[in-house]
Protein backbone atom coordinates (compact mmCIF):
# COMPACT_ATOMS: atom_id res chain seq x y z
CA UNK A 1 0.00 0.00 0.00
CA UNK A 2 1.42 3.37 -1.10
CA UNK A 3 0.63 6.11 1.39
CA UNK A 4 1.57 8.83 -1.08
CA UNK A 5 -0.82 7.71 -3.75
CA UNK A 6 -0.39 5.92 -7.00
CA UNK A 7 2.31 7.30 -9.21
CA UNK A 8 1.87 8.42 -12.76
CA UNK A 9 2.39 5.46 -15.03
CA UNK A 10 4.23 5.60 -18.30
CA UNK A 11 1.06 5.40 -20.38
CA UNK A 12 -0.57 8.12 -18.30
CA UNK A 13 2.56 10.22 -18.61
CA UNK A 14 2.42 9.93 -22.38
CA UNK A 15 -1.23 10.97 -22.42
CA UNK A 16 -0.58 13.91 -20.09
CA UNK A 17 2.46 14.98 -22.12
CA UNK A 18 0.39 14.95 -25.27
CA UNK A 19 -2.41 16.94 -23.68
CA UNK A 20 -0.04 19.54 -22.22
CA UNK A 21 1.94 19.86 -25.43
CA UNK A 22 -1.25 20.34 -27.37
CA UNK A 23 -2.62 22.84 -24.84
CA UNK A 24 0.52 24.97 -24.84
CA UNK A 25 1.05 24.82 -28.61
CA UNK A 26 -0.71 28.14 -29.36
CA UNK A 27 1.25 29.80 -26.58
CA UNK A 28 4.55 28.52 -27.94
CA UNK A 29 3.83 30.06 -31.30
CA UNK A 30 3.04 33.43 -29.82
CA UNK A 31 5.34 36.32 -30.68
CA UNK A 32 5.51 39.63 -28.88
CA UNK A 33 6.24 42.81 -30.84
CA UNK A 34 8.55 44.50 -28.35
CA UNK A 35 11.55 46.36 -29.68
CA UNK A 36 14.96 46.45 -28.03
CA UNK A 37 14.68 50.24 -28.09
CA UNK A 38 12.23 49.95 -25.22
CA UNK A 39 14.86 48.23 -23.11
CA UNK A 40 17.42 50.89 -24.00
CA UNK A 41 14.96 53.60 -23.02
CA UNK A 42 14.30 51.86 -19.71
CA UNK A 43 18.01 51.54 -19.02
CA UNK A 44 18.65 55.18 -19.91
CA UNK A 45 15.74 56.31 -17.76
CA UNK A 46 16.94 54.40 -14.72
CA UNK A 47 20.59 55.29 -15.18
CA UNK A 48 22.07 56.89 -12.11
CA UNK A 49 23.12 60.52 -12.15
CA UNK A 50 26.86 61.25 -12.51
CA UNK A 51 28.51 61.52 -9.13
CA UNK A 52 31.50 63.81 -9.26
CA UNK A 53 32.83 65.74 -6.27
CA UNK A 54 31.54 69.03 -7.59
CA UNK A 55 28.04 67.66 -8.08
CA UNK A 56 28.09 66.11 -4.62
CA UNK A 57 29.10 69.41 -3.04
CA UNK A 58 26.41 71.29 -4.92
CA UNK A 59 23.83 68.71 -3.94
CA UNK A 60 24.97 68.86 -0.30
CA UNK A 61 24.73 72.64 -0.24
CA UNK A 62 21.32 72.48 -1.79
CA UNK A 63 20.11 70.03 0.82
CA UNK A 64 21.63 72.19 3.57
CA UNK A 65 19.84 75.24 2.25
CA UNK A 66 16.54 73.41 2.07
CA UNK A 67 16.96 72.14 5.62
CA UNK A 68 17.87 75.53 7.08
CA UNK A 69 14.98 77.17 5.27
CA UNK A 70 12.61 74.58 6.65
CA UNK A 71 13.92 75.01 10.19
CA UNK A 72 13.71 78.80 9.92
CA UNK A 73 10.16 78.75 8.65
CA UNK A 74 9.14 76.38 11.40
CA UNK A 75 10.70 78.56 14.09
CA UNK A 76 9.06 81.64 12.62
CA UNK A 77 5.65 80.04 12.62
CA UNK A 78 6.14 78.79 16.17
CA UNK A 79 7.24 82.20 17.43
CA UNK A 80 4.35 83.83 15.60
CA UNK A 81 1.87 81.56 17.28
CA UNK A 82 3.31 82.45 20.72
CA UNK A 83 3.35 86.18 19.94
CA UNK A 84 -0.31 86.12 19.06
CA UNK A 85 -1.16 85.06 22.57
CA UNK A 86 0.95 87.80 24.19
CA UNK A 87 -0.40 90.54 21.96
CA UNK A 88 -3.78 90.73 23.65
CA UNK A 89 -4.89 93.90 25.31
CA UNK A 90 -3.76 94.11 28.88
CA UNK A 91 -6.33 95.14 31.43
CA UNK A 92 -5.23 96.39 34.77
CA UNK A 93 -7.52 95.79 37.67
CA UNK A 94 -7.83 98.93 39.78
CA UNK A 95 -7.09 98.80 43.41
CA UNK A 96 -10.05 98.48 45.75
CA UNK A 97 -11.53 101.84 46.65
CA UNK A 98 -9.36 103.86 44.36
CA UNK A 99 -10.38 105.93 41.43
CA UNK A 100 -9.95 105.10 37.89
CA UNK A 101 -6.77 106.61 36.89
CA UNK A 102 -5.08 107.16 33.65
CA UNK A 103 -1.39 107.50 33.84
CA UNK A 104 0.01 109.44 31.02
CA UNK A 105 3.56 110.39 30.39
CA UNK A 106 3.51 113.54 28.41
CA UNK A 107 6.24 115.80 27.20
CA UNK A 108 7.45 118.58 29.40
CA UNK A 109 6.37 122.12 29.03
CA UNK A 110 7.76 125.11 30.94
CA UNK A 111 4.40 126.67 31.71
CA UNK A 112 3.17 123.43 33.20
CA UNK A 113 6.21 123.05 35.34
CA UNK A 114 5.66 126.60 36.68
CA UNK A 115 2.03 125.76 37.41
CA UNK A 116 3.00 122.69 39.33
CA UNK A 117 5.47 124.71 41.33
CA UNK A 118 2.74 127.24 42.19
CA UNK A 119 0.57 124.47 43.44
CA UNK A 120 3.36 123.46 45.75
CA UNK A 121 4.09 120.23 44.03
CA UNK A 122 7.37 119.10 42.85
CA UNK A 123 7.51 118.74 39.15
CA UNK A 124 8.76 115.39 37.93
CA UNK A 125 12.12 115.32 36.45
CA UNK A 126 11.36 114.21 33.00
CA UNK A 127 7.61 113.85 32.82
CA UNK A 128 5.15 116.52 32.09
CA UNK A 129 1.61 116.63 33.34
CA UNK A 130 -1.46 117.62 31.50
CA UNK A 131 -3.42 120.71 32.54
CA UNK A 132 -6.19 118.50 33.90
CA UNK A 133 -3.78 116.53 35.97
CA UNK A 134 -4.26 116.68 39.71
CA UNK A 135 -1.80 114.42 41.35
CA UNK A 136 -2.94 113.03 44.67
CA UNK A 137 -0.48 113.01 47.47
CA UNK A 138 -1.67 109.72 48.92
CA UNK A 139 -1.42 107.58 45.91
CA UNK A 140 1.28 109.44 44.14
CA UNK A 141 4.03 107.12 43.22
CA UNK A 142 6.05 109.72 41.51
CA UNK A 143 4.27 109.55 38.22
CA UNK A 144 1.84 112.13 36.94
CA UNK A 145 -1.69 110.99 37.45
CA UNK A 146 -4.84 112.08 35.73
CA UNK A 147 -7.96 111.64 37.77
CA UNK A 148 -10.81 110.85 35.53
CA UNK A 149 -13.50 110.77 38.12
CA UNK A 150 -15.73 108.41 36.26
CA UNK A 151 -16.67 105.34 38.16
CA UNK A 152 -18.22 102.59 36.13
CA UNK A 153 -18.56 104.63 33.03
CA UNK A 154 -16.74 104.30 29.81
CA UNK A 155 -13.28 105.64 29.88
CA UNK A 156 -12.22 108.09 27.24
CA UNK A 157 -8.77 108.34 25.92
CA UNK A 158 -7.13 111.58 26.63
CA UNK A 159 -5.59 113.27 23.69
CA UNK A 160 -2.01 113.87 24.51
CA UNK A 161 0.15 116.20 22.50
CA UNK A 162 3.31 114.56 21.42
CA UNK A 163 6.74 115.79 20.75
CA UNK A 164 8.64 114.47 17.88
CA UNK A 165 11.21 112.59 19.87
CA UNK A 166 9.05 111.28 22.68
CA UNK A 167 6.60 108.45 22.70
CA UNK A 168 3.58 108.45 24.98
CA UNK A 169 3.29 105.71 27.53
CA UNK A 170 -0.33 105.01 28.28
CA UNK A 171 -1.22 102.89 31.21
CA UNK A 172 -4.91 102.39 31.62
CA UNK A 173 -6.67 101.24 34.69
CA UNK A 174 -10.36 100.75 34.44
CA UNK A 175 -13.08 98.68 35.95
CA UNK A 176 -15.58 96.76 33.89
CA UNK A 177 -15.05 98.72 30.71
CA UNK A 178 -12.89 98.52 27.70
CA UNK A 179 -10.56 101.17 26.51
CA UNK A 180 -11.76 102.79 23.41
Amino acid sequence: MNLFGRGVGLEEQVVLDRLLDDAFAPGRSRRVPISAVRVRARVAWQREAPESRGWRAVAWLGRLGETSLTVGMTALLFAGSLGGVGGQTEFLQPERGSEYVVRVAVPLDDSRIVRLLRLGLAAPGTDDVDAATVPTREANDGEPVISVGERGGPLRRTTVPLRDDDEPVNTVRERGGLLR
Partner: protein, 219 residues
Amino acid sequence: MTRRRAAPAADAFEERTDRELVVAARTGDMPAFDALFYRYRDGIFRLGLSITKDPSHAEEIVVDTFARAYRAIDRLEPDESLRPWLYRVAVNLSYNRQPRKGITFSSLDDALADVMTPEEGSPPILAERAEQRAAVLECVDRLGDKHKVVVVLHYLNGLNLAEIALVVGCPVGTVKSRLHYALRNLRTHLSAHPGLSVEPTVALGATGSMELMRSQGQV
Protein backbone atom coordinates in the same frame (compact mmCIF):
# COMPACT_ATOMS: atom_id res chain seq x y z
CA MET B 1 19.07 48.27 -49.09
CA THR B 2 18.76 48.39 -45.35
CA ARG B 3 17.09 45.01 -45.22
CA ARG B 4 19.76 43.46 -47.38
CA ARG B 5 22.43 44.76 -45.02
CA ALA B 6 20.57 43.92 -41.83
CA ALA B 7 19.74 40.36 -42.74
CA PRO B 8 23.34 39.06 -42.89
CA ALA B 9 24.08 40.87 -39.64
CA ALA B 10 21.10 39.22 -37.99
CA ASP B 11 22.21 35.85 -39.28
CA ALA B 12 25.65 36.46 -37.86
CA PHE B 13 24.17 37.13 -34.46
CA GLU B 14 21.91 34.08 -34.74
CA GLU B 15 24.93 31.85 -35.10
CA ARG B 16 26.76 33.25 -32.11
CA THR B 17 26.33 31.62 -28.72
CA ASP B 18 25.05 33.32 -25.60
CA ARG B 19 28.55 33.49 -24.21
CA GLU B 20 29.91 35.28 -27.27
CA LEU B 21 27.04 37.73 -27.23
CA VAL B 22 27.47 38.44 -23.52
CA VAL B 23 31.19 39.08 -23.98
CA ALA B 24 30.44 41.38 -26.92
CA ALA B 25 27.73 43.21 -24.96
CA ARG B 26 30.20 43.85 -22.15
CA THR B 27 32.37 45.81 -24.50
CA GLY B 28 29.45 48.03 -25.40
CA ASP B 29 28.29 46.16 -28.48
CA MET B 30 24.62 47.03 -28.33
CA PRO B 31 23.59 44.97 -31.38
CA ALA B 32 24.90 41.91 -29.53
CA PHE B 33 22.71 42.75 -26.55
CA ASP B 34 19.79 43.31 -28.91
CA ALA B 35 20.40 39.86 -30.37
CA LEU B 36 20.11 38.38 -26.89
CA PHE B 37 16.90 40.29 -26.41
CA TYR B 38 15.32 39.06 -29.61
CA ARG B 39 16.45 35.53 -28.84
CA TYR B 40 14.66 35.27 -25.49
CA ARG B 41 11.92 37.90 -25.46
CA ASP B 42 9.17 35.57 -26.66
CA GLY B 43 9.87 32.88 -24.09
CA ILE B 44 10.00 35.40 -21.25
CA PHE B 45 6.80 36.97 -22.48
CA ARG B 46 5.04 33.62 -22.51
CA LEU B 47 6.31 32.84 -19.02
CA GLY B 48 5.15 36.20 -17.68
CA LEU B 49 1.79 35.84 -19.39
CA SER B 50 1.22 32.38 -17.95
CA ILE B 51 1.79 33.66 -14.40
CA THR B 52 0.30 37.15 -14.49
CA LYS B 53 -2.46 36.47 -17.07
CA ASP B 54 -2.03 40.02 -18.28
CA PRO B 55 -0.30 40.77 -21.62
CA SER B 56 0.67 44.30 -20.61
CA HIS B 57 2.26 43.01 -17.43
CA ALA B 58 4.06 40.34 -19.43
CA GLU B 59 5.52 43.01 -21.74
CA GLU B 60 6.72 45.01 -18.75
CA ILE B 61 8.32 41.88 -17.35
CA VAL B 62 10.21 41.38 -20.60
CA VAL B 63 11.52 44.94 -20.55
CA ASP B 64 12.38 44.84 -16.84
CA THR B 65 14.17 41.52 -17.19
CA PHE B 66 16.45 42.75 -19.95
CA ALA B 67 17.01 46.09 -18.25
CA ARG B 68 18.30 44.17 -15.25
CA ALA B 69 20.36 41.96 -17.50
CA TYR B 70 21.94 45.03 -19.07
CA ARG B 71 22.86 46.47 -15.69
CA ALA B 72 24.23 43.14 -14.50
CA ILE B 73 26.01 42.24 -17.71
CA ASP B 74 29.42 42.76 -16.10
CA ARG B 75 28.61 40.36 -13.27
CA LEU B 76 27.22 37.58 -15.46
CA GLU B 77 29.44 34.55 -15.83
CA PRO B 78 29.94 33.81 -19.51
CA ASP B 79 30.42 30.12 -18.79
CA GLU B 80 26.91 29.78 -17.47
CA SER B 81 23.93 29.76 -19.73
CA LEU B 82 22.08 33.02 -19.84
CA ARG B 83 18.68 31.48 -20.30
CA PRO B 84 18.11 30.14 -16.75
CA TRP B 85 19.29 33.45 -15.30
CA LEU B 86 16.86 35.42 -17.45
CA TYR B 87 13.99 33.08 -16.65
CA ARG B 88 14.75 33.27 -12.95
CA VAL B 89 14.54 37.07 -13.02
CA ALA B 90 11.36 36.84 -15.07
CA VAL B 91 9.76 34.39 -12.63
CA ASN B 92 10.51 36.67 -9.68
CA LEU B 93 9.16 39.70 -11.50
CA SER B 94 6.08 37.75 -12.53
CA TYR B 95 5.30 36.76 -8.96
CA ASN B 96 5.54 40.42 -7.98
CA ARG B 97 2.96 41.25 -10.60
CA GLN B 98 0.61 38.40 -9.89
CA PRO B 99 -3.06 39.39 -9.99
CA ARG B 100 -4.38 40.33 -6.58
CA LYS B 101 -7.15 38.44 -4.95
CA GLY B 102 -10.49 39.69 -6.09
CA ILE B 103 -9.10 40.93 -9.40
CA THR B 104 -9.80 38.60 -12.27
CA PHE B 105 -7.76 38.91 -15.39
CA SER B 106 -8.37 36.81 -18.42
CA SER B 107 -7.37 33.22 -17.93
CA LEU B 108 -4.39 31.68 -19.64
CA ASP B 109 -6.54 30.03 -22.25
CA ASP B 110 -8.36 33.32 -22.86
CA ALA B 111 -5.07 35.10 -23.32
CA LEU B 112 -3.92 32.51 -25.78
CA ALA B 113 -7.21 32.11 -27.59
CA ASP B 114 -6.92 35.41 -29.44
CA VAL B 115 -3.70 34.36 -31.10
CA MET B 116 -4.60 30.79 -31.94
CA THR B 117 -3.26 29.99 -35.31
CA PRO B 118 -5.79 28.74 -37.84
CA GLU B 119 -5.75 24.98 -38.01
CA GLU B 120 -6.95 22.51 -40.52
CA GLY B 121 -9.96 20.38 -39.77
CA SER B 122 -13.68 20.52 -39.63
CA PRO B 123 -15.29 23.01 -37.28
CA PRO B 124 -16.52 20.34 -34.85
CA ILE B 125 -13.01 18.94 -34.49
CA LEU B 126 -11.54 22.37 -34.03
CA ALA B 127 -14.14 23.23 -31.41
CA GLU B 128 -13.51 19.98 -29.57
CA ARG B 129 -9.77 20.58 -29.61
CA ALA B 130 -10.18 24.13 -28.32
CA GLU B 131 -12.39 22.84 -25.54
CA GLN B 132 -9.76 20.26 -24.56
CA ARG B 133 -7.08 22.93 -24.48
CA ALA B 134 -9.22 25.17 -22.34
CA ALA B 135 -9.84 22.34 -19.90
CA VAL B 136 -6.15 21.47 -19.64
CA LEU B 137 -5.07 25.07 -19.14
CA GLU B 138 -7.78 25.55 -16.55
CA CYS B 139 -6.39 22.57 -14.64
CA VAL B 140 -2.88 24.01 -14.90
CA ASP B 141 -4.18 27.27 -13.46
CA ARG B 142 -5.54 25.37 -10.48
CA LEU B 143 -2.11 24.01 -9.58
CA GLY B 144 -0.07 25.60 -6.84
CA ASP B 145 2.58 28.17 -7.73
CA LYS B 146 5.54 25.82 -7.29
CA HIS B 147 3.99 23.09 -9.40
CA LYS B 148 2.60 25.44 -11.98
CA VAL B 149 5.89 27.19 -12.71
CA VAL B 150 7.60 23.85 -13.25
CA VAL B 151 4.90 22.73 -15.68
CA VAL B 152 4.98 26.03 -17.55
CA LEU B 153 8.76 26.08 -17.82
CA HIS B 154 8.86 22.48 -19.01
CA TYR B 155 5.92 22.30 -21.39
CA LEU B 156 5.56 25.90 -22.53
CA ASN B 157 9.15 27.12 -22.57
CA GLY B 158 10.81 23.79 -23.22
CA LEU B 159 13.38 23.94 -20.43
CA ASN B 160 14.90 20.69 -19.26
CA LEU B 161 14.97 19.64 -15.62
CA ALA B 162 18.49 20.96 -14.97
CA GLU B 163 17.60 24.38 -16.36
CA ILE B 164 14.38 24.45 -14.35
CA ALA B 165 16.41 23.64 -11.25
CA LEU B 166 18.59 26.67 -11.94
CA VAL B 167 15.55 28.84 -12.51
CA VAL B 168 13.65 27.90 -9.37
CA GLY B 169 16.81 27.51 -7.28
CA CYS B 170 16.42 23.96 -6.04
CA PRO B 171 17.98 20.56 -6.81
CA VAL B 172 17.02 18.58 -9.86
CA GLY B 173 15.42 15.92 -7.67
CA THR B 174 13.08 18.50 -6.21
CA VAL B 175 12.12 19.59 -9.71
CA LYS B 176 11.40 15.98 -10.65
CA SER B 177 9.27 15.59 -7.56
CA ARG B 178 7.33 18.77 -8.23
CA LEU B 179 6.73 17.78 -11.83
CA HIS B 180 5.56 14.35 -10.73
CA TYR B 181 3.08 15.74 -8.22
CA ALA B 182 1.94 18.36 -10.70
CA LEU B 183 1.16 15.65 -13.26
CA ARG B 184 -0.60 13.59 -10.65
CA ASN B 185 -2.78 16.53 -9.66
CA LEU B 186 -3.44 17.25 -13.31
CA ARG B 187 -4.47 13.66 -13.83
CA THR B 188 -6.90 13.97 -10.93
CA HIS B 189 -8.38 17.19 -12.31
CA LEU B 190 -8.48 16.04 -15.90
CA SER B 191 -10.18 12.77 -15.08
CA ALA B 192 -13.35 14.79 -14.48
CA HIS B 193 -13.39 15.63 -18.19
CA PRO B 194 -14.67 12.59 -20.11
CA GLY B 195 -13.36 13.72 -23.47
CA LEU B 196 -9.70 13.80 -22.44
CA SER B 197 -9.19 10.01 -22.17
CA VAL B 198 -7.53 10.30 -18.77
CA GLU B 199 -8.54 7.40 -16.58
CA PRO B 200 -10.13 8.27 -13.25
CA THR B 201 -7.93 7.96 -10.19
CA VAL B 202 -9.97 5.68 -8.01
CA ALA B 203 -6.99 3.67 -6.79
CA LEU B 204 -4.83 6.30 -5.09
CA GLY B 205 -2.94 4.41 -2.43
CA ALA B 206 -4.60 4.31 0.95
CA THR B 207 -7.34 6.76 0.13
CA GLY B 208 -7.75 5.39 -3.34
CA SER B 209 -7.98 1.83 -2.07
CA MET B 210 -10.63 2.91 0.35
CA GLU B 211 -12.57 4.53 -2.47
CA LEU B 212 -12.13 1.43 -4.61
CA MET B 213 -13.39 -0.84 -1.84
CA ARG B 214 -16.23 1.56 -1.22
CA SER B 215 -17.16 1.51 -4.88
CA GLN B 216 -17.16 -2.28 -4.83
CA GLY B 217 -19.40 -2.34 -1.81
CA GLN B 218 -16.91 -3.94 0.53
CA VAL B 219 -17.09 -1.14 3.11
